[in-house]
Structures are given as structure tokens and as C-alpha cells.
Symmetry: C2
Subunit: 386 residues, 2 copies
């Protein structure tokens, strides 16, 4: 096991009816920005619950944060936060609203020229931010319990991440009943997103980290078992609760301590979203099987362990077992109506050299847990998934 530091102070308030406790969590003596997305919270009743719980609070609303939140939109909120001297931002939404709010919170305290700097330059840390909290409406990204955010700059078709302890939510309310009204596509995306988050921290090389491995497998198995139940019956509270807690645990840092991490799937996937606006989870479902195939030698031990412990694959040669593990993963994604080939999304092969050039221009020579996934292999895996 590698050395590590782990500190996750996010206060998780989990369960049905918990939104009513907002007035015990949000500071009373300051101006609050209530930030949300495209309006689903008006349909599922969450907006009303939030407003009821915060009656008497000084609220300023900022709606319209889009999926893959846009820098351009968020900068408008930054101005409001500064002008209105907002003291707390409450994100009500899914991962995009949360990520957007993290950016707004940090950008409002940024004293450099342009807050985009702390996304493009990993050496710059957004060390201060307006305090924030969240009411999660979509289990998927884990943003409710971590310090990371991903923002898209439309003008340059860039999708970039930043991380800072300053943007850890003070609290996140996870009420599984929000799942009841989710469309099938969002459930499917959420399950696949969480599943890939786990694999990015697990499917690397072994460092004898038993707790991390077994916790990761626990989350994968829970998603495998509970995901289809949620899809089949959106009103199954227990299935929704297990899905929701699994998605949070998938990316709150715990399973990633002391182990190598990959994240190549996310890096390549972000480009697919930035260029073609393919849903984040779907880009992961496209890229990951390609990486599993191209990097099967690198990932041999963990791929075999994954096959055995998660899918029960115990017979056949090593190659056959690895093939079976990859095939099972693809079948799982596709069983949720998520295709794993670029062509299914109308993306042609001509896209592949463009993406590779992009990584080349950024000076990246190798990514992944060993830093040896080359730009040539990136092309190779994308051709596999064409």
C-alpha cells in the first residue's frame, strides 16, 4: 500500500425527508445564492421543499446551469456573488450544478486575472472559496462528497477539471426519493458514471491494498445489482438509496487512498463531450472498454481479480478470463441502453486524429496509472471503439 493522506469532512445528511433540515445546515445570517440547472427541480418538488425549508432566508436564485456547466454561464454567477456579497451558495441539482457551484465559489475569491487559470494550470490552487452546500438530485458524479469540479469552456471547446479542499461542500443532503422522478437515461448514466469512477481507481496494478480493493468491488457489485432494480422500478426506495450511496462512495476519495489511479478514460472522454456534447457517462462507456483492451497487459492482475470477484469469472485461460471481464463490462453498459461504439453516437473516425492532436498540443506524452498510455495507443483504442 502506498502512503496517503485522507480527510473528507463533508457532512452527509442522508434519507427521505432530509431536505427539511436545510435550515439547520445553511447559515442564517448571510445572503444565500440558490443555484440550480434547467428546471427539473420545479417538476420533482425539490425546489418547493428547499424554499419551504429556507423560508425567511435571504435568497438570490441563479438557474440555468447546463449539463457540463459552461464557464461562460458560471462567470455571470460569479459577478452576482461578488456584487451581492453572497456568503453561502447552495447547489440544488446533480453533478453539473455542483461542479458549477464549486467553480463559482472559487472564482469569486480568485484574485488572478481569469479564474480559468486554475483549471488550465494545475500548479495554481484555488485556495479560498465561498462556503457551499448541496441538495443532490441525481446520483452519479460523487461531486457531493469531493473537492473536484469539471467545467466546460464553450468558446474553446475545452472541458477541464480542478480540485481544492476549499470547494468541499460543508454538507450534502442525499434524499433517495429524488430518484423516483429521474428519466431512464439519467439513471443509466448515473450507474455507468459511478461504475467507471470505481474502475478508474481499481483497474490499475496491485499494491496489496486489501480494504481499498474490496471496498471498490463492494461498490461495483452494488451498482450491478441495484442499478437494474432502479431502472425497473423507480419507486423502489431501497434500490434508490443503495444506488445513491454507492455513487457517493465511488468518488469520495476513500477507495483511491494509497493505490495507483488511472483517469485516462475520463481525460479522453472529456474531449468527446467537449466536441460532440455526448453525455459524460456515455463517453466513459465508449473509452473504457478500449483502454481495458489496449492496456490488458498492464492491468492483467487487476483485470483477472475484477473478473473473478465482481463477475464470478473463474474458468478459462488468463486471456479468456480477461476477454470475458471486458465483455461483461460492455454488456453491462449496453444493458442500460448505453452504446459503447463511437458510430452509435454519430462520431466518425475522422475525430480520432483531432483528439490525439489535442493531447499532443498540450504536451501530454503518456497518461494512465503508469503514465505510459501513449497518444498512439489512444488512437488505437479509439479505432477499436469506432
Amino acid at each position: 500500500m502506498d502512503n496517503f493522506q485522507f480527510c473528507n469532512p463533508v457532512n452527509i445528511v442522508f434519507g427521505k425527508g432530509q431536505i427539511s433540515r436545510l435550515n439547520k445546515l445553511v447559515p442564517a445570517n448571510t445572503k444565500i445564492m440558490l443555484a440550480y440547472g434547467g428546471g427539473s427541480i420545479f417538476k420533482n418538488g425539490v425546489y418547493d421543499q428547499v424554499k419551504d425549508a429556507l423560508e425567511g432566508y435571504n435568497l438570490i436564485e441563479f438557474g440555468g446551469i447546463e449539463p457540463n456547466p459552461h464557464y461562460e454561464t458560471l462567470m455571470k454567477a460569479v459577478e452576482i456573488v461578488k456584487d451581492e456579497k453572497i456568503g453561502f451558495i447552495l447547489a440544488v441539482g446533480g453533478g453539473s450544478v455542483l461542479d458549477g457551484v464549486k467553480f463559482i465559489a472559487a472564482a469569486a475569491h480568485w484574485d488572478g486575472e481569469d479564474p480559468w487559470e486554475f483549471l488550465t494550470n494545475r500548479k495554481l490552487l484555488a485556495s479560498s472559496a465561498v462556503p457551499l452546500g448541496s441538495v443532490l438530485t441525481l446520483p452519479a458524479t460523487g461531486s457531493e462528497m469531493n473537492s473536484t469540479a469539471v467545467v466546460t469552456r464553450v468558446s474553446t471547446q475545452e472541458k477541464m477539471a480542478f480540485a481544492s479542499p476549499a470547494v468541499l461542500p460543508k454538507f450534502s443532503i442525499l434524499d433517495p426519493t429524488v430518484v423516483f422522478s429521474l428519466p431512464e437515461k439519467q439513471v443509466a448514466n448515473g450507474v455507468v458514471d459511478a461504475f467507471v469512477h470505481v474502475l478508474e481507481q481499481y483497474l490499475t496494478y496491485p499494491v496489496n491494498a486489501q480494504i481499498q480493493d474490496r471496498f471498490a468491488e463492494s461498490i461495483l457489485i452494488t451498482l450491478l445489482e441495484e442499478g437494474p432494480k432502479v431502472l425497473a422500478d423507480r419507486n423502489d426506495y431501497d434500490a434508490a438509496a443503495n444506488f445513491m450511496w454507492a455513487a457517493t462512495m465511488a468518488l469520495n476519495g476513500l477507495i483511491g487512498v494509497g493505490v495507483p489511479q488511472d483517469w485516462a478514460t475520463h481525460m479522453i472522454g472529456h474531449e468527446l463531450t467537449a466536441y460532440y456534447e455526448i453525455d459524460h457517462a456515455r463517453t466513459l462507456a465508449i473509452v473504457l472498454p478500449g483502454i481495458m483492451q489496449v492496456k490488458r497487459k498492464n492491468k492483467r492482475e487487476k483485470l483477472l481479480q475484477y473478473g473473478e470477484r465482481v463477475w464470478g469469472i473463474t474458468t478459462g485461460s488468463e486471456d479468456e478470463r480477461m476477454d470475458a471481464a471486458i465483455r461483461k463490462t460492455v454488456e453491462f453498459f449496453e444493458s442500460f441502453g448505453i452504446p459503447t461504439k463511437l458510430s452509435a453516437y454519430g462520431v466518425g473516425e475522422d475525430f480520432i486524429p483531432v483528439i490525439c492532436d489535442r493531447f499532443r498540443q498540450r504536451g501530454l506524452t503518456g497518461i494512465g496509472e503508469r503514465g505510459d498510455l501513449t497518444i498512439e495507443q489512444m488512437a488505437e483504442l479509439l479505432y477499436l471503439q469506432k
Copy 2:
């Protein structure tokens, strides 16, 4: 899954060589109490490492905190903390030193008559405490990442617990190399202590909490597999690291969220320690098999799940499988040289009515996850373990 709140802000600094980072974790501008136990830290080099890391700090030492830390000893430290205006307490030791420091820290801020109040009266919360941190020297109790402490009052032969967010360590350094010099008995106690902590939160009744169940099973399996490795070769760093992280995860709150909890084993075990000074872990190894037996109907589903997922018991009638799960647990404890019968510790049957009377006097009618383990059943299970 039941509703829950979870917030654990302890900063875990894990790995070899991490003690040298103490000067980045302990505040520099205040007087520090360095608290420890019977002196093992002088033999294993931890004391020197701590002193080196804190060179130039204003340190006041307080040694001699005994196993099952004594209220009487700790109150001496409380006086020093008050007189010397100590601003931070660093616990260097195992669970007893940590628990002792939590008591000292809270008692020093207590403005009631006698700090013993917040142990005997669960309605009184120690809401303020001197900030504290720890360097863990013995994986076992999980105290390094939770808000609980257990203190023994010698004069009344009472062993009582309290919990408060105020006594959560600001940080805990977990360097697995401390395991290298542990005597066999302490490793055995540590493994069994952590194992029972998990079972107290797991072996109840099912509430469809998949992540919690699987995480609990992950820790149990890790302890099963890694414990014997540590015992066989104390210098196996990876085994020590897995054992250490498993013991911390066993009682940091995570596996207990949203699920019923038992703790009857601990409540009864504490009496055994208070009266006979039997090591804490050993009292658990005595009491738990009795509770598993007496409460087998109550715990049926989870006992079967435990047998199957942890011990691979899949054949036989339900009763046979439950018997096998209990037997495997007993064999596991005994394989570490820890007897599970009272007689092995020189405790006679005459002790049993004394204990039962004690619970009766405190007005307890039923304990355990359903509050239905009666005082009569307590006697029954102790006679089973005589």
C-alpha cells in the same frame, strides 16, 4: 436503509515515515501536552521520532496512562492542562491513550461539577474540548478516527463510554511500522477487537444496506486474511498496513451508517474488564459467541449472510449453517490464542449474577439492536460461556 448523518473530518496521515510530518500538523504557537502510556514508545523508537519532529515546540509530557485508562490518572492530567493552559494534546499510543486523551481534553473544558457526569449521564454532551491529535502505536480500537472514548473509574469498578464531535482528533498518524515491535498478544487483541467492532454493526437484522454490509464483510475478510500474516511475520509491511487500515475502518462510523447496531457485547465485556481486568478484546471474544447463540433467531438473516459471504458456508440446514458460522468465529478467536470461555480467565460462575445485578441496578431492561436482550438472556449467554 435507515436515514443517517455522517461526518468524519479526521485527517488521516498514513504510511511509513509519516511521524516526521508532525510539525506540519501540530499547531506551533501553543503549549502541547504529549501524552502516552506505559513506555513502549521508548522501546519502539516512536518517542524519539515524535520528539525529533517536534523539536522547538513547547512540550509538557504526561506518561503513565494505563490500559483501560483510569479516571483517577486522567484527572491529574486535567489539572495540568488547566494550570499550564495547554492548547493542544498529542496522544502517542494505542486506543487507551487516545481514549484517555479524549477524556482529558473534554474534562479540561467541562464546567460541571465532575467530568464523570458526561460518562454516566448520556444526556450530557461534552460539547467543547482542547484540540487533540494522535500518533497511533497499536491498531485495534479505531479511536484514532472516531469521537468515542471509554474510561474506567477504579474506585467504583465502572467502565463507561462517552462520545462527542468535540473530541474527534484533528489528525491521526498511522504508521504501520509500529506493528513490527508489537508483542503477539497485542496483535491478537487488535485483530479480535476490530473484528468484533465490525460484527457489532453488522450482525443485527437486514435493512437492505448493501454498501454497509459489503464494506463490513470486506473488513472482516481482510482481518481474517491479514491478521494471521501479521502474527506470523511482524515485519510484513503490507500485512501490517492492511491490518491497521482495517482496524481504523472498523470503527470510524462508515459501516454503521443507516443500519441497526448491537453493542451488547461491548456493554457486557466492559463489566468483565472493570471487575477482572481482562483485556478488552478478550472480553469481547468471550461474550460475542454467547450473544450469537442466544440471539440466533433475532440475527438469523445476517448470521446466514455472514456465514456465506465471510466464511463460505453454503451447505447444510439454516441451523447447521448458523452453528458453523458461530463455530468458525470461535475458532478464529482461539487461533489467535484468545480463549472464549470465562473459566480460561479464572472467572467463576459466581460472577454472572453480580454482572446481571449491576445492569438491573442501572435500570437496563434490554440491550442490543432491538433492545430485547434481557438480563435473563445475559445470564443465559454467560452461563454458555462459563
